[in-house]
Symmetry: C2
Subunit: 162 residues, 2 copies
């Protein structure tokens, strides 16, 4: 039973699904890109299906993220998850880091530092600086691979010699 009046009604679910496009699974990256600028007209709290709809993650993955301690999610009287703005922000943050291939272990470490308070700021800075170096390296590698791919396309098939 829902006495708070904030849980998802079918109409609301439908509206959310419509306004953010139902996630079609084969190409997952486009809807993940939406994360980089989330719509501002979101309700105060969201159900797990709604978070899944706006983030492009599956409900399974959201439960998994909670299980491994990446986010804490409140429950209603029936035990259903209730994602508030903070929880959603955390999910979005984690998803962005995942998009740049930060290992979950590193994200967990970083979030543990955050939970420990402000005195861990220097170590957090270090984590992010290392991550920046990794991203830059990967950007270089991907750019080189893009050049190779462009070359292959330009030569229309070509052979297996680089």
């Amino acid at each position: 039973m829902n006495t708070t009046g904030v849980l998802s009604s079918p109409a609301r679910r439908q509206a959310l699904a419509d306004s953010y496009q139902a996630p079609e699974l084969p190409p997952p990256a486009p809807e993940l890109l939406r994360l980089l600028d989330l719509p501002a007209n979101l309700p105060e709290t969201l159900s797990i299906a709604e978070v899944a709809a706006v983030t492009g993650l599956t409900a399974h993955t959201l439960r998994y993220y909670e299980r491994i301690g990446l986010v804490e999610v409140a429950r209603d009287e029936s035990g259903y998850r209730v994602y508030d703005r903070e929880a959603l922000a955390r999910i979005v943050f984690v998803t962005r880091l995942r998009l740049s291939d930060m290992p979950i272990s590193t994200i967990t470490h970083y979030i543990n530092l955050v939970n420990q308070g402000e005195q861990t700021a220097p170590e957090r800075l270090l984590v992010m600086q290392e991550h920046r170096a990794m991203i830059r390296r990967r950007l270089r590698e991907m750019s080189a691979a893009l050049a190779l791919t462009e070359y292959k396309i330009a030569t229309y098939g070509g052979h297996c010699t680089p």
Copy 2:
């Protein structure tokens, strides 16, 4: 017994290892970057350890790549692998594609097309065009993640809200 005179002597192995830096495993990406411009003074044929030294892959991985059909490698009289220039080029090519996160199944498919001859050029082109689109998407995602990381660094730690 080695009657060809091309197999690795300890001195040659040493020289190769010296001239290309022994691979130190914790950060694997730097030596993989070397692949993007291989040194030109390579011998005609290489042993598996030598290929490992110049590519940064492990001998285990090289055997694995051969096992799954990504490359064919000749043997000497004792059954040892002998990598000629063509095999090395293939390994380098595969490694570049892997660096851009092309799945091994796609690489296998592409290489099968190459082995089937010139009439598969159109399909190969398609494969590469799709791969290019994937690389471009990933470059955008990584750039966005870089921006987030720079922001975190600029605000020195910050919170878990993006």
